[in-house]
């Protein structure tokens, strides 16, 4: 009698092998493949660069121009867009290639693992972004990158005061005679700054789990549909997931642009933006608008 092998989509990336204490998971392998693909395309593009664009350069230039225009819509400043653009486009491509690699029907290649008498199939490839570790790494990079960008753009003191607003506490002593209400407003503003720290953690959580949830849900959907009706019926869903992969990469990179733009703006001189920034648990009004617009 043929032995039953369990085909189960787990919420975590499965371990393929160990390298000392380091677990090499199938999502990590996919990410390495994604890195290799992007590096090869980059080198190929570099070698094909010409003053009069042709082929892949044309496509890339059109794409870059479009992406830069989208950045402009958020930043309202071409110079700032150009500074943020390399990070945003890198995140976009990394996520996009990871998302799409998870859709390539190479999941049939893998290991059969025997765990307590139950044999289960572990595919070699799993969408890199269908692992929380990958999305967390990207979210942490984005948030830390945004804050570093803020330090470079507006200075370390202003960035620090965004979270631990010592200057507003100091203003109690200097402004109390002119504005007695400062004794109430300043502690509230200081407390809002502390909430910003929680907001940064919320950003990491929202960025990472949004991406992970969407991509993992897509993989589960494809597996479920394939299990129900194989071969033809999953095809429309496959196209849907190609679109979802693109949209999720776009959302993540546009949110990154929003975070970078907020970090680079001087809050002392932009009360309106500051006000909108403090709502929705650290996610700005622009963020909400953009998310609503894209999704």
């Amino acid at each position: 009698m043929k032995e039953k092998i369990l085909h189960e989509t787990t919420i975590f990336a499965e371990k393929i092998t160990d390298f000392g204490s380091f677990h090499i998971t199938n999502a990590l392998i996919t990410s390495w493949v994604a890195v290799a693909v992007i590096v090869i395309i980059s080198i190929f593009l570099r070698r094909k660069l010409k003053e009069i664009p042709k082929g892949i350069q044309n496509v890339f230039e059109v794409f870059a121009e479009g992406a830069l225009s989208m950045c402009d819509q958020v930043t309202n400043d071409r110079a700032l867009s150009i500074r943020i653009f390399p990070m945003a486009i890198s995140v976009f491509f990394f996520i996009l290639v990871n998302n799409w690699l998870g859709l390539i029907p190479l999941g049939g290649f893998g290991l059969i693992e025997n765990h307590e008498g139950i044999k289960s199939f572990i595919p070699f490839l799993r969408g890199g972004t269908a692992d929380v570790n990958t999305t967390l790494a990207l979210a942490v990079s984005a948030v830390i990158g945004a804050n570093l960008f803020g330090v470079v753009s507006v200075g370390i003191w202003k960035t620090f005061n965004k979270y631990v607003n010592l200057s507003v506490l100091g203003s109690i002593f200097t402004k109390i005679k002119k504005e007695p209400t400062v004794i109430i407003v300043a502690p509230i503003t200081f407390f809002v700054g502390l909430i910003e720290i929680a907001g940064e953690v919320a950003k990491i959580a929202s960025l990472s789990f949004r991406l992970f949830g969407n991509i993992f849900a897509g993989e589960v959907l494809l597996v479920s549909i394939s299990a129900l009706v194989a071969y033809v019926v999953p095809i429309p869903f496959l196209f849907l997931e190609i679109l979802v992969g693109f949209i999720q990469a776009l959302i993540f990179s546009m949110l990154l642009v929003v975070y970078f733009t907020i970090s680079s703006s001087d809050h002392d001189h932009e009360p309106a933006r500051n006000a909108s920034h403090n709502d929705a648990g650290g996610e700005s009004h622009e963020h909400q608008k953009l998310t609503q617009g894209v999704v």
């Binding site: 919420i11 975590f12 990336a13 204490s21 380091f22 677990h23 998971t25 990590l28 990410s31 390495w32 994604a34 890195v35 992007i38 590096v39 395309i41 980059s42 080198i43 593009l45 570099r46 660069l49 003053e51 350069q57 890339f60 230039e61 870059a64 150009i82 653009f85 390399p86 990070m87 486009i89 890198s90 995140v91 491509f93 990394f94 890199g128 692992d131 929380v132 570790n133 990958t134 967390l136 790494a137 990207l138 942490v140 990079s141």
Partner: protein, 163 residues
């Protein structure tokens, strides 16, 4: 928190590995694609902008040159017309002068010719007279067979020349 870590198998080593992966992507994409491409696009943009500026400048220069050309052409036409008129006038004057000179030369030549002819005629008549006289004397000598003297000669010559 622990349940989240265990449920999702969150592993800080994998997170660091993924950060490293992303760093590689960012670096390679920036060095090999974005930086040279943006440089190329910037240069091309500058070139196009310069080309447009040059074209506008050239159009302005062309327009200016056309205006200058028209001005010069009008001026040249006017000058040429003046020059032409002057030349015609000068030519007329020259022609009249030459005509006058030619007329006077012809008149001089005619008068000289007349004088020469007159002198020639006078000389011819004198010569003919002398010839006739000597002929007459020779004939007379033959007839009378005598040498006539010089007074007879002169007298005879005078008579004969008055014939």
């Amino acid at each position: 928190m622990d349940s989240i870590v265990s449920t999702f198998h969150i592993d800080w080593k994998i997170i660091i590995a993924q950060v490293l992966n992303f760093s590689i992507v960012f670096t390679m994409l920036y060095i090999y694609a974005l930086k040279p491409l943006s440089k190329l696009m910037k240069e091309r943009g500058e070139k196009i902008a310069k080309g447009v500026d040059d074209a506008e400048e050239n159009a302005q220069i062309l327009e200016k040159t056309n205006i200058e050309y028209e001005k010069v052409l009008v001026k040249a036409k006017t000058e040429a017309q003046i020059l032409f008129n002057n030349t015609i006038k000068e030519a007329e004057i020259k022609k009249d002068e030459m005509l006058e000179k030619a007329k006077s030369d012809v008149a001089i030549m005619i008068s000289d010719g007349k004088k020469t002819l007159e002198a020639e005629k006078t000389k011819m008549v004198a010569d003919a007279k002398n010839e006739i006289v000597s002929l007459v004397m020779k004939v007379t000598e033959k007839l009378i067979d005598k040498k006539l003297d010089a007074s007879f000669d002169e007298k005879t010559i005078k008579e004969l020349s008055n014939l």
